[in-house]
């Protein structure tokens, strides 16, 4: 296989991967989340390096299956998905577009940390994704998926999900 066709394949692969939504937050793709760490095409074999977000996230197996299904259909090649934990996935890898999509969907994007003292990690001000107010409060550190916490806006009174800094 010559270099040009590897290049072409890679472009197609990125385009295809961008169509795969996170199974639990379908508004963002696995590319938006920064989960794809590398792609190699070697003699008819495609290797996709995937960074798991949380170790026990049940969506991971679904994502693996979808990557294989989508790429094998598009390229007619064997596809292997390798899990990469080093360096560990971080919310810093979420693309600007991904952050924007989260907010549009009603999930407050990661806001950073205000301070860390010993075991206490204080999250920075989280803005309400509905009305934009900064007067919000934490309801629960754990939300409907491992990556989210539950907040409430004290202005518009709506509860909302917050994508935790990780």
């Amino acid at each position: 296989m010559n270099k040009t066709s590897i290049g072409n394949d890679e472009k197609v692969i990125w385009q295809q991967l961008a169509t795969i939504p996170d199974p639990e937050i379908p508004v963002v793709s696995i590319v938006d989340l920064g989960m794809i760490r590398g792609i190699t095409v070697d003699n008819g074999q495609v290797i996709v390096q995937l960074a798991p977000t949380y170790n026990g996230c049940p969506a991971l197996e679904v994502i693996r299956m979808q990557i294989r299904a989508v790429l094998e259909q598009a390229l007619r090649k064997n596809v292997e998905v390798q899990l990469i934990i080093d360096p560990p996935w971080t919310t810093d890898w979420i693309s600007k577009e991904g952050l924007h999509k989260l907010k549009e969907y009603g999930i407050a994007p990661p806001a950073g940390r205000k301070s860390t003292t010993g075991w206490r990690d204080e999250a920075a001000n989280v803005s309400c994704p509905h009305c934009g107010s900064d007067s919000t409060e934490l309801i629960s550190q754990f939300g409907s998926t491992p990556c989210k916490a539950l907040y409430r806006c004290t202005e518009c009174l709506e509860p909302f999900d917050y994508f935790k800094c990780h």
Binding site: N55, G56, P58, D86, P88, G118, W119, F142
Partner: protein, 251 residues
């Protein structure tokens, strides 16, 4: 304990078993949490821990020529190396929180040290898991304070849980003779040395919670040698039932 295990295999299984058994215990709360948010919190922590257990089992499995599932589902009680603390029953919410509090402090200190392991794979597992462990510790510390410094009833239950579970803490901070070469080679830290910096911080949280840290001798626990309290057998009976009843079954 299996004679074939090298010191690193033993350490990896010990780590995996702590995470798996505590993860399983927390999963027992699913549908039984005191309120919906806490039901979700406990099962979220459970998922993280089971995910972490898989990383240790995968690495141990590569070395031993066994799959992660074989290691989890087909080992007998005497070949499980978890500490006694994590196999203790959930009890009430106070017991679950105190057990988690003790485990989280140990887990954070150990993972922080393992991040610097000379074994790159182990260091990567630690770095990946530490982010989750920090979050768990914040959760358990906040609940210790909230319930300890809460109502008369919550204070009484928390103190009862502290009194009941404190004797299990000592086992976590014991070095195992079998691990001497790993400590020498800086693959794992001197685990006994993790205790004193942590003790001070735990005492601080307990003080803030208005509870009393009981002065009690440690139990002569031997979980790391595969000798367990009566509770582990019941956990494994449930956890391993499907593979024992239908060997080799898959999803």
């Amino acid at each position: 304990m299996d004679e074939q295990w090298q010191p690193l295999d033993h350490f990896l299984l010990m780590r995996g078993d702590d995470c798996l058994i505590l993860g399983h215990r927390l999963s027992e709360w699913c549908g039984h949490g005191p309120i919906l948010e806490q039901d979700m919190a406990l099962t979220n922590i459970s998922l993280d821990l089971i995910g972490q257990a898989r990383l240790y089992y995968q690495l141990a499995g590569e070395r031993l020529g066994r799959s992660e599932d074989q290691l989890a589902y087909l080992r007998n009680e005497r070949n499980y190396l978890n500490a006694w603390l994590v196999e203790q029953p959930n009890g009430d919410f106070a017991h679950t929180i105190v057990r988690q509090f003790f485990f989280d402090w140990y887990e954070n200190a150990l993972l922080e040290a393992l991040e610097r392991s000379k074994n790159d794979r182990l260091a990567a597992i630690a770095a990946k898991s530490l982010k989750e462990a920090r979050y768990h510790r914040q959760y358990s510390c906040e609940w210790v304070i909230r319930l300890g410094d809460g109502t008369e009833e919550s204070h009484r239950r928390m103190q009862a849980a502290l009194d009941r579970l404190t004797p299990y803490v000592g086992e976590l901070y014991q070095n195992h003779a079998f691990h001497a070469s790993l400590i020498d080679d800086q693959v794992i830290p001197d685990i006994a040395g993790l205790w004193s910096p942590i003790e001070q911080q735990m005492v601080e949280v307990i003080r803030e919670s208005t509870l009393t840290f009981p002065v009690m001798p440690s139990l002569p626990a031997r979980g790391r040698e595969g000798i367990h309290t009566e509770h582990l057998g019941f956990v494994l009976t449930e956890l391993q039932y499907m593979q024992r009843a239908y060997p080799g079954s898959t999803w």
